[in-house]
């Protein structure tokens, strides 16, 4: 059995480096971007966080914004898990695994974004319970460390187990994964709720210190996550022989439509609360939506985000429009980008503006910071693509213990489309 597994690993390694020209090009481009990002991060290690645009006033920026968005993407994979495993929806069963792989990649990215934000990454071990000093349950950040790593392990186990069983062409044993699936569902909600509570718990920041933040996190996550999956599935069907059923797409469309509506509704609730009462605590929201005095760097961003989300909403709720794949894709991309702005920089930066003592210091990421962000994204996509490279032939039965097919033939098959 151990031998089988080792052979599987070895064959997987070989398969990872095999593919058509498109696969090589894609992986090379991602590697190059990741390496550039790595270089930018090393510069940050050498010179300190002074190479970022962050200040004492705006002490979190693009890193934490991307972290927040990606936790949502990871959590959203649960929206595939529920219909697939609980309602035994056959169409979703085929795609749920890819959702779990996306969750793994997203969690890895969000953990990396926390790492690159640390002033002293060399002291990371201080967070390890017992060896270090883990401030649990006091700090919400320690909760976040637990739920994010736990979610990563859960998904690694579920996806890894199912893939390996597929490879062996054996029926997976329910006991070995179903309990974890149920835990993962609750866990997915928790990772995003806990991440919201990171901000909600801060009494000195009225923009974050609001109950609506956690529900809004979930609404936006369940829009952006399935949106990314819809795009990914189309790429998968284009470059491989995997077929994703129309019904699976339709279900994802329903999810993204409903979630986007909920997100927009909650946004309206928030806007009403902030602006109708005209109290003083709405300065951050004023800064975000209209600018404060002469400071208005985020205004074009947030209105682009809202416009994109509204356009996406109109397309999604109008069946004749949504049925046209090109428009549907536009809606998905708009929803993803809109939420990335709104729940990234649009959530993090205004929390710091104005400061608790009424000072206004604006924030713009530096190029070095942007390169680090791109590097993390490229690395995450690299992991996701690599996992798909293994998972697709496994799921379609081309890559299995029994498959006598040799690498060259397989390469020819895979590359057949290229």
């Amino acid at each position: 059995m151990v031998k089988d597994y080792l052979v599987f690993l070895w064959r997987a390694v070989l398969l990872s480096f095999t593919g058509g020209w498109r696969f090589y090009t894609w992986m090379t481009v991602l590697t190059v971007i990741a390496v550039i990002g790595g270089n930018a991060y090393t510069r940050q290690l050498a010179e300190g966080l002074a190479v970022t645009g962050m200040t004492d006033q705006v002490s979190w920026g693009a890193y934490i914004a991307n972290f927040t968005f990606l936790v949502g993407v990871a959590a959203a994979s649960v929206m595939l898990v529920i219909p697939a495993y609980i309602y035994r929806n056959k169409d979703m069963h085929d795609v749920v695994l890819y959702g779990e792989l996306l969750a793994i990649a997203a969690i890895v990215m969000s953990l990396l974004f926390v790492m690159v934000d640390l002033g002293r990454p060399d002291r990371f071990w201080h967070m390890i319970p017992k060896i270090g000093l883990f401030n649990f349950p006091g700090s919400m950040l320690s909760w976040d460390v637990i739920v994010l790593n736990g979610y990563l392990l859960l998904n690694l186990h579920i996806a890894g187990y199912l893939l390996y069983m597929h490879y062996l062409q054996r029926q997976p044993t329910k006991l070995f994964y179903m309990p974890f699936v149920f835990i993962a569902i609750v866990w997915a909600i928790s990772i995003h709720t806990v991440t919201a509570f990171l901000y909600v718990g801060l009494v000195g920041r009225p923009f974050w210190n609001a109950a609506i933040v956690a529900p809004r996190f979930l609404g936006s996550a369940f829009t952006a996550g399935p949106g990314i999956l819809i795009i990914a599935f189309q790429v998968i069907t284009r470059v491989s022989h995997v077929q994703i059923t129309d019904r699976a797409f339709r279900l994802l469309r329903h999810i993204i439509t409903a979630s986007l509506m909920i997100n927009l509704f909650l946004l309206a609730c928030e806007a009403f609360k902030e602006f109708y009462s005209e109290e003083l605590h709405n300065s951050s929201a004023t800064y975000l939506f209209f600018g404060l005095h002469e400071y208005d760097k985020l205004v074009p961003w947030i209105w682009s985000a809202i416009t994109m989300e509204l356009v996406a909403a109109v397309i999604l709720v109008t069946p004749p429009l949504a049925r046209r794949m090109a428009l549907f894709n536009v809606a998905c991309v708009f929803a993803i980008v809109g939420i990335w702005i709104e729940k990234g920089m649009g959530l993090i930066v205004p929390g710091f503006i104005p400061t608790p003592l009424g000072n206004i210091v604006e924030y713009t990421p530096t190029w070095n910071e942007v390169f680090v962000c791109l590097g993390v994204w490229a690395f995450g996509l690299l992991i996701f693509s690599w996992m798909l490279r293994l998972a697709i032939p496994i799921m379609s039965g081309q890559f299995s213990k029994a498959s006598g097919i040799n690498l060259k033939q397989r390469a020819a098959m895979e590359g057949g489309t290229s």
Partner: protein, 306 residues
């Protein structure tokens, strides 16, 4: 396996070889900026435990090591000690806003006393210039520059760490690197902080500063009398804050900001001593605290008395 398969394998190994070479070259390129780092992290520093887990001997050897490092890095002979909190002492601070004239002498004295970086500039005390008739902090000017102070129709609100009874900052720290001492001072173990800056997001008084760069202080301006938990020169990448000058106050001296104040607006002392000046002020003046609604219960009070 067929001969064809072997051929593919060989080609794959070639590819892997080329890939490995490229990866090594890339790694070299990625790591290039690290060559400019002056001092790497020593194993001792890397493995150092949390302050509250150190025995006296270990702490002593750490302080000697830090003295040596400061000597090498800044060319200054310094003495680092670790004065402990005194029994029966809880510090309190009161500030008379009617007297403060916005000279910012406290800011400068604090900077010198506490070895704050001159480049980039770090200061623990912010003096807010407020227009008369408003207590909305958003109307304050943090960067006022006048030939003379006080400016007309303004008053000044100096803010520094309020050493809260219920500090939001210590609660959020994921590694317990910041805590409140028995005498009421919230401190940071600069060798334990991981630099996540969550405490800065949590503080309602903007009292914490982050070392985005390695602090720069001219050798002749370094205050050699340093406390482990207070004014020793901070490493890069960690958070720092006002400690009520505990290296002074725990030895019976006043904080540097109070000594520097030209108007006598600042009153500091032991709140547990009924005969102290601070106790008298708290009993007999209408003192108030900033952002009472935040529930932080500061040990820093304001009052008006002309």
């Amino acid at each position: 396996m067929s001969s064809e398969g072997k051929g593919t394998n060989r080609r794959n190994f070639m590819k892997a070889g080329v890939g490995t070479m490229a990866a090594l070259a890339a790694a070299g390129g990625v790591l290039a900026p690290l060559r400019s780092v002056e001092n790497g992290i020593t194993l001792d520093a890397f493995l150092q435990q949390h302050y509250r887990r150190l025995d006296a001997d270990t702490l002593d050897s750490i302080m000697r090591r830090l003295e040596e490092e400061t000597g090498k890095k800044y060319g200054a002979q310094v003495h680092i000690s670790d004065p402990k909190p005194m029994d029966g002492v809880e510090y309190g601070y009161a500030l008379n806003l009617s007297r403060c004239n916005g000279s910012r002498k406290c800011v400068t004295a604090c900077m010198k006393e506490n070895n704050q970086s001159r480049d980039p500039e770090i200061q623990y005390i912010k003096v807010l210039e407020m227009p008369r008739g408003s207590f909305n902090l958003e109307h304050s000017d943090h960067y006022y520059e006048h030939e003379t102070v006080p400016a007309k129709d303004t008053f000044y609100l100096p803010v520094q760490c309020h050493q809260c009874n219920n500090p939001p900052c210590t609660k959020v720290c994921p590694v317990g690197a910041t805590w409140t001492e028995p005498d009421g001072v919230t401190v940071i173990d600069y060798n334990w902080c991981i630099g996540c800056r969550y405490c800065m997001a949590a503080c309602p008084y903007e009292a914490r500063r982050f070392n985005f760069s390695t602090p720069k202080i001219p050798r002749e301006e370094i205050n050699p009398n340093q406390g482990y938990l207070s004014n020793r020169i901070r490493p890069r990448g960690v958070v720092e804050k006002c400690t009520f000058c505990l290296h002074r106050t725990r030895k019976g001296k006043y904080p540097a900001c109070m000594e520097a104040c030209p108007t006598g607006s600042r009153i500091f002392g032991n709140m547990l001593d009924p005969d102290s000046e601070i106790s008298y002020i708290l009993r007999n003046r209408e003192v108030y605290i900033l952002k009472e609604e935040a529930g932080t219960m500061p040990r820093f009070f304001y009052y008006f008395e002309t």
